[in-house]
C-alpha cells in the first residue's frame, strides 16, 4: 500500500524542522511565552492602585449618650486592600495636588460631620463623600469606583440596611470563569495563526529562492501535492501547539474547560490550514527572505486587533466589524471559546466551521494557483 505522494513533502518539512532547533524553539516556546506575557499583563485585574483617604469625620453617637461610632472608619475598613494601596492624608488640597502630580490615582474625602449627618438625616436624604479621580486611566478609575461602591454596600449591609433594589447575577455560562478561561482560546488561535503563517511564509520563500520549489515541480509532485503536504504538516503542528497551550493553561493558570477539547483542536487545525495557505500565497509576493518581513504587519495587526482575542467583536466599531469577519482567526477564536467555555458542539458552532472551511478552500486554491502561475 503506497502512501499518498504529498506525505513525502510532509515528512520532509518535519525533518527540516527537527534539524532546526531555533525554529523548533519558536514553535514550542512562542505560544507559551505569548500566553504568559499576555495572560499576566492583560489579566483584567488591577492591583495596588494608590488611593489617598482624607477622613475629616469625627464620628458621632447614633443616639444621644451612646458610644461614638465612625461610619467613615467602617467604610475605610471595608475598602479592598488588594485592589487599592491606601495612604492617609489630612488636607484635601494636598490630596488633590498628589493626584495632579501623579502620585495617586484618586482620593476619597469624607467631610466633617459625615457620621453625624448620616445618623441624623431622615431616611431618603443623602450625604455625600467626595471621590477625586484621575480619569485619564479608565481601567484604574473604574477599579477605584468599583472598590468604593463595594465598600459602601458592604458597610450598609453590616448595618442591616438594605438597598431598595438588588441585582441577582446568574451565570448561564462561565460560572466562576476567570479572565484566563476567556483568554486561552483566543491566544491559542492567535499564536497558531501567527506562527503558521510566518513559518510557511519563511519556509516557502526559502523554497523559492533556493530553487528547491522548481526542483520539486520538475518531479512527479504536483502543485497540489506540495500545498497539501504543507497543509498536513502545519495542521499537525497547530494541534500540537494548541495541546501544549492547553496543558500549561490547565496546570499553571488553572483554567476550566467544559466542552469537547477535540472539537476545539479540530477548529485550530482548520485555522492552521488556512494560515499555511496564506503563507504560501504571501510568499509569492516576496523574492527574498527579507521581503517576507514586510508583509508581517498586515498579517499580525488585523488579527491581533479585530479577531476578538482581547475584546469581543461587539466592542469593535460597527463600520470596522466587517473586517473582523475577513480575518481567519475570528472564527477560530469564537468557535474554540464557545466550545471550551460554553461546551457547545458542532451544531452550535457550525457557522464558524463552515466559514473556516470556505476560507481554507479559497486560500488553498489560490495557493495552488500561485505555484502554477510562476512559470511565465
Amino acid at each position: 500500500m503506497r502512501s499518498p505522494r504529498f506525505l513525502t513533502v510532509t515528512s520532509r518539512v518535519f525533518k527540516e524542522l527537527r534539524n532546526d532547533r531555533r525554529t523548533l524553539a519558536l514553535i514550542v516556546i512562542a505560544p507559551v511565552f505569548a500566553m504568559f506575557v499576555f495572560g499576566l499583563a492583560f489579566s483584567g485585574e488591577v492591583h495596588d492602585v494608590p488611593l489617598i483617604v482624607v477622613n475629616q469625620d469625627q464620628g458621632a453617637a447614633p443616639v444621644p449618650g451612646a458610644a461614638i461610632v465612625s461610619i467613615s472608619g467602617k467604610i475605610i475598613a471595608n475598602l479592598d486592600t488588594k485592589t487599592l494601596s491606601i495612604s492617609t492624608e489630612s488636607d484635601p488640597a494636598k490630596a488633590r495636588s498628589d493626584i495632579e502630580d501623579g502620585d495617586a490615582y484618586g482620593a476619597l474625602v469624607f467631610p466633617e460631620g459625615f457620621t453625624a449627618s448620616v445618623v441624623s438625616e431622615p431616611s431618603g436624604a443623602t450625604t455625600s463623600i467626595e471621590l477625586l479621580l484621575d480619569k485619564s486611566n479608565i481601567n484604574v478609575a473604574t477599579a477605584i469606583t468599583q472598590a468604593v461602591n463595594e465598600a459602601l454596600l458592604e458597610t450598609m449591609d453590616q448595618a442591616g440596611e438594605k438597598p431598595p433594589v438588588t441585582v441577582d447575577m446568574v451565570a448561564v455560562f462561565g460560572q466562576n470563569a476567570k479572565f484566563m478561561d476567556f483568554f486561552v482560546p483566543g491566544i491559542m488561535a492567535f499564536t497558531v495563526y501567527l506562527i503558521t503563517t510566518l513559518l510557511t511564509l519563511i519556509t516557502f520563500v526559502g523554497e523559492r529562492t533556493s530553487g528547491t520549489l522548481q526542483r520539486m515541480l520538475a518531479t512527479t509532485l504536483s502543485e497540489r501535492d506540495i500545498v497539501m503536504g504543507y497543509a498536513v504538516t502545519f495542521s499537525l503542528i497547530g494541534m500540537g501547539q494548541a495541546l501544549l497551550l492547553l496543558i500549561i493553561a490547565i496546570l499553571v493558570f488553572d483554567i476550566s474547560v467544559v466542552g469537547n477539547v477535540l472539537l476545539a483542536f479540530l477548529v485550530i487545525a482548520l485555522l492552521a490550514v488556512v494560515s499555511q495557505a496564506m503563507g504560501i500565497l504571501l510568499s509569492s509576493t516576496a523574492r527574498r527572505e527579507a521581503q517576507a518581513i514586510q508583509v508581517l504587519p498586515f498579517v499580525v495587526l488585523p488579527a491581533f486587533l479585530l479577531s476578538g482575542i482581547f475584546w469581543p467583536i461587539e466592542a469593535i466599531p460597527s463600520w470596522l466589524r466587517p473586517l473582523s469577519y475577513l480575518v481567519p482567526p475570528t472564527y477560530a477564536v469564537d468557535a474554540s471559546r464557545a466550545v471550551m467555555l460554553k461546551g457547545w458542539g458542532v451544531s452550535e458552532i457550525w457557522i464558524d466551521i463552515v466559514a473556516l472551511l470556505a476560507m481554507a478552500a479559497f486560500f488553498l486554491t489560490l495557493a495552488v494557483f500561485s505555484l502554477k502561475t510562476r512559470k511565465d
Binding site: R2, Q214, A218, T220, K375
Partner: protein, 250 residues
C-alpha cells in the same frame, strides 16, 4: 513507461522563449536521439538554462513545440522519466545528504529500501559516502553539486537534463563523472548536458553551440572541427561565433 525506442528522446521545432521583448531562446530545432549524450554549449546568457527549463516544463514556451520523453514538454506523465539537475544547487540546506536524496527518491514513488540502495551506489560514485549524515549546509560548494547530481539520478531516469553538473567539481572527480555518464548511456539513457569545459564537450556524441538564443552550429566533434576549419574546439567556436555575427550583419 518507456515510449517507442525509435522515437527521439527530445524533439523541438521552433522552440522560443521571450521574457517580455527579450528573446532568450530563438526558434530552436533539436533532435536528440535515445542513448545519446548531447552537449549544449555557449557563452553566458546564450539560453542554455532557459532551454533546459522549457524542456522539463518549468518555463512555459512562448512559441514552437517540444516533445520530451514521448510527451509534450511540461506533461507531468513524463516527469518520472526525467532527471533534472538545476544550475543552482537547489538542495535543502537544513537536511542531511541522506535526507535530501531520500526525499527526491520518495517523490518519484521509490520505496525507502529502493532509495537506500540507489543512495549507497550513487554516494559511492560521487565519493560522498562518509558525508551521508552531514547537513548539506556544512558541505563545500563542489560537494553540494555532487549531492545535487545524486538527487537527479536517484530514480534512474531514462533522460537526464543536467545544467552544468560539473561546475566546481575537481578534475579527478569530473573524469569519473564522465565515465559514469558514458556507462549509463550504454544502458540506453539519454543525457543532455550543458558545460563550459571543452574536454567535456569532446566526450559528447554531439554538441550544439548556442549564442544569443540561437543554435549556430550542431554536430559531432569532428563535424564541428571541419565546419570551422579549426582543430581546437575553443577556436572552432570563436570562428563559428564570428561567422554567425557576420551572417547577421550581411
Amino acid at each position: 513507461m518507456e515510449a517507442e525506442s525509435t522515437e527521439n528522446a527530445i524533439e523541438t521545432r521552433g522552440l522560443t522563449k521571450r521574457f517580455g521583448r527579450f528573446t532568450a531562446v530563438d526558434s530552436l530545432d533539436l533532435e536528440i536521439a535515445r542513448g545519446e549524450i548531447y552537449g549544449l554549449l555557449g557563452p553566458n546568457g546564450a539560453g542554455k538554462t532557459t532551454t533546459i527549463k522549457m524542456l522539463c516544463g518549468l518555463l512555459k514556451t512562448t512559441d514552437g513545440r517540444a516533445q520530451v520523453a514521448g510527451m509534450p514538454a511540461g506533461d507531468r506523465r513524463a516527469s518520472a522519466d526525467i532527471g533534472y539537475m538545476p544550475q543552482e544547487v537547489a538542495l535543502y540546506e537544513g537536511l542531511t545528504v541522506h535526507q535530501n536524496i531520500r526525499f527526491f527518491g520518495r517523490v518519484f514513488g521509490l520505496s525507502g529500501r529502493q532509495t537506500d540502495e540507489r543512495e549507497e551506489e550513487l554516494l559511492e560514485f560521487v565519493n560522498l559516502a562518509e558525508w551521508r549524515d552531514v547537513l548539506v549546509a556544512r558541505l563545500s560548494g563542489g560537494m553540494k553539486h555532487r549531492v545535487s547530481l545524486t538527487c537527479a539520478l536517484v530514480h534512474s531516469p531514462a533522460l537526464l537534463l543536467l545544467d552544468e553538473p560539473t561546475v566546481g567539481v575537481d578534475p579527478e572527480l569530473r573524469v569519473s563523472f564522465w565515465d559514469y555518464f558514458t556507462r549509463i548511456k550504454g544502458r540506453g539513457r539519454t543525457i543532455v548536458i550543458t558545460t563550459h569545459y571543452m574536454d567535456e564537450a569532446r566526450r559528447c556524441d554531439r554538441i550544439g553551440f548556442m549564442r544569443d538564443g540561437r543554435l549556430i552550429a550542431e554536430g559531432t566533434v569532428p563535424e564541428i572541427q571541419s565546419l570551422a576549419g579549426k582543430e581546437d574546439l575553443e577556436d572552432a567556436f570563436m570562428v563559428l561565433a564570428e561567422r554567425s555575427e557576420g551572417g547577421e550583419a550581411a
